[in-house]
């Protein structure tokens, strides 16, 4: 069923078994997974079916630290959420991402990649992807796999391209038809009000943008309104603790993560036609895939590096390669002439995406400014550190050495990569992948939710979305957050 909170009577109390706050990738996935079950589901969505400026403005906030896009531009606040403008790139996190790495402080998930694999399998379907197969040989990139590249401490990684699935459009009709699911548009959750003993959420206070107030009482509450808003709503819920709900250890909002990106990182002159396929996409059964390079875990451990991946894109001058000036082009031409069998036009732009080291100083907090609902807005502080800088510089060099040593390319790294000067962060941009803030941990001393995504100390409160990621690897986060949402839905379906 699909309705509008504008038609809910003022002061009404709505009841459900499961109340989902937020209609983006995570919220819609859970609602869809529970459709047809015996659970009564109520999904609160702040926006309508289309974007509108007043609702979108509720996302505005302040950005501090390293460069983040404006908060009311990086996210979309209407049914389907940020999948309404995502690029659709998907892949699972690497098994290493789930492990505790001694050289990465605060690393390690309280669950393994193996635990998540069955849910990744299902998430592939939700996101309209191909088979859960991320081996490069399965995608036929190379006539003959260039083992020389793999012998240099690197390995290949596949990223699959979703259509991209607009969750709001794709799943709207199925949810409209589901008799046990009600999607309520224009419904803004304002606060989670705890029970007197603070051990449960007693109700969700909600309002339309026009000020019509109502409440929801539910057996289970799932926060699924995005990395920044999940933390914001917990911090705004001060009924039991002025620090916010689930925030006894002061961890809500902390460990905000993104994927730092160096683009362009440099230029690749291919000397091997087969290896050049690294810079091209392939299609299998209608699904597009991209190939990139990663560093082996042994190299990461030896060098003390975070996860990273080097992408190479076809070079289409001049817009796509601002780092390639006339001098670079002249040197590329000379190297091609020197090699004899390289084509000076066989150039790619390369760029690097890396994991961000989890740091408590990288965080979301409340500001004193109020939005149109009278709610405190947020301040997002994106803070990078020494391990991030070390990873950018060392990983870029290692990829250049790998391709050069393999004999498949000559590589130029941009000056800003080799020497960032006084400000190593001016070269880094955000990849718009917001993660962390309600991180998952084995115990409340290290995180906000447990391995089952339940908030420590609050029996019926769950968090869905990339906000639960303790570390974010280098891969786009959507497939993993959908897999976690499916796993959570399975738990909610059985009522445990």
């Amino acid at each position: 069923m699909l309705g509008s909170a504008r038609r809910v009577p003022e002061g009404a109390t709505l009841h459900a078994d499961v109340c989902i706050v937020g209609g983006g990738a995570a919220g819609i996935t859970i609602a869809q997974a529970l459709a047809g079950s015996h659970r009564r589901v109520l999904l609160l969505e702040s926006g309508g079916l289309q974007t509108d400026a007043r609702t979108q403005a509720l996302y505005a906030g302040r950005v501090e630290g390293h460069g983040q896009p404006p908060l009311d531009a990086s996210r979309l606040r209407f049914f389907g959420g940020t999948t309404n403008h995502w690029a659709g790139l998907c892949g699972p996190l690497d098994p290493l991402d789930f492990e505790r790495r001694p050289w990465v402080p605060h690393s390690g998930w309280p669950l393994s990649r193996e635990t998540l694999d069955p849910w990744y399998l299902e998430a592939q379907k939700v996101c309209d992807l191909g088979p859960f197969d991320y081996g490069e040989d399965a995608w036929g990139f190379f006539a003959e796999t260039p083992e020389r590249i793999a012998a240099t401490g690197t390995r290949f990684a596949i990223t699959q391209h979703s259509t991209p699935t607009r969750f709001g459009e794709k799943y709207r009709e199925a949810l409209r038809r589901a008799s046990n699911v009600q999607v309520l548009l224009h419904a803004n959750a304002l606060e989670l009000v705890p029970s007197p003993d603070g051990a449960r959420v007693a109700r969700v206070e909600a309002s339309t943008l026009e000020g019509r107030r109502f409440r929801v009482e539910a057996g289970a509450i799932v926060l699924a309104c995005g990395t920044v808003e999940n933390a914001r709503l917990l911090l705004l819920s001060t009924g039991a603790d002025p620090a916010g709900l689930g925030n006894a250890r002061g961890l809500v909002g902390r460990f905000f993560l993104d994927h730092p990106r160096l683009r362009p990182a440099g230029v690749v002159l291919w000397r091997d036609a087969d290896a050049r396929r690294l810079a091209e996409n392939t299609v299998r059964d209608g699904v597009k895939a991209t190939l990139s390079l990663c560093l082996d875990r042994t190299v990461q451990k030896r060098e003390g590096l975070l996860q990273s991946s080097l992408f190479t894109d076809a070079y289409h001058p001049p817009e796509s390669a601002p780092g390639l000036d006339e001098a670079d082009a002249a040197i590329a031409e000379w190297l091609a002439l020197l090699a004899g069998d390289a084509d000076p036009a066989s150039l790619s732009v390369c760029w690097l995406r890396s994991e961000q080291a989890p740091r408590p100083e990288s965080r979301v907090r409340l500001s004193d400014e109020l939005d149109a609902l009278g709610q405190r807005r947020v301040v997002l502080e994106w803070r990078l550190g020494e391990l991030d800088r070390h990873t950018h510089e060392q990983a870029a060099r290692l990829y250049a050495h790998a391709l050069t040593r393999a004999g498949v390319a000559s590589v130029e790294l941009a000056a800003k990569v080799l020497d960032a000067g006084d400000d190593p962060w001016q070269r880094v941009t955000s990849d718009w992948h917001q993660m962390g803030t309600t991180r998952m941990a084995a115990g409340p001393a290290d995180g906000v939710v447990d391995a089952g995504c339940r908030v420590f100390g609050v029996d019926n409160l769950y968090v869905a979305g990339a906000s639960v990621f303790p570390t974010g690897g280098w891969m786009n986060p959507t497939l993993t957050l959908v897999a976690l949402a499916l796993r959570l839905a399975d738990r909610l379906r059985s009522g445990t």
Binding site: G266, A327, D328, A330, I331, A332, E333, W334, L335, A336, L337, L338, A339, G340, D341, A400, H401, T404, R405, G407, S410, V411, E412, L413, A414, A415, V417, L418
Partner: protein
Amino acid sequence: MTAGLSRREALHWLGAATLVAGLSPGLAGCAQSEAECEAGLRDALHGLGGLAGAALVAEAAGLSRADAATALCSSDRPSLLATSTGVGLHRWLAARREADLAAGRVRFVRGWLLTETEIAAAVLLSG
């Protein structure tokens, strides 16, 4: 152009013949002096073209022409005949490049990760 052969095939054939000649007694590279090697190699590199790019590398390389010549001609010297065609020169350069890569003789110059042979060739050509 040789009838029935593409330019690449013709160059390949010429190169192979030249290499054979280069290995003949009295014509092998070891018979020439370092000065002869330097002059011959410079001419051969000049024939490949790309002077502007080589000059940019040379300018930033921090290597003298004498050191570049020594690096290229003190050992594993190419025969004059071998370098007189593009194919022969390319083969010699490729072998040197592989040896450099295997030995880790690479460094960044103007952002490009180059082998010592490539750097020396740029300096010799531009000197």
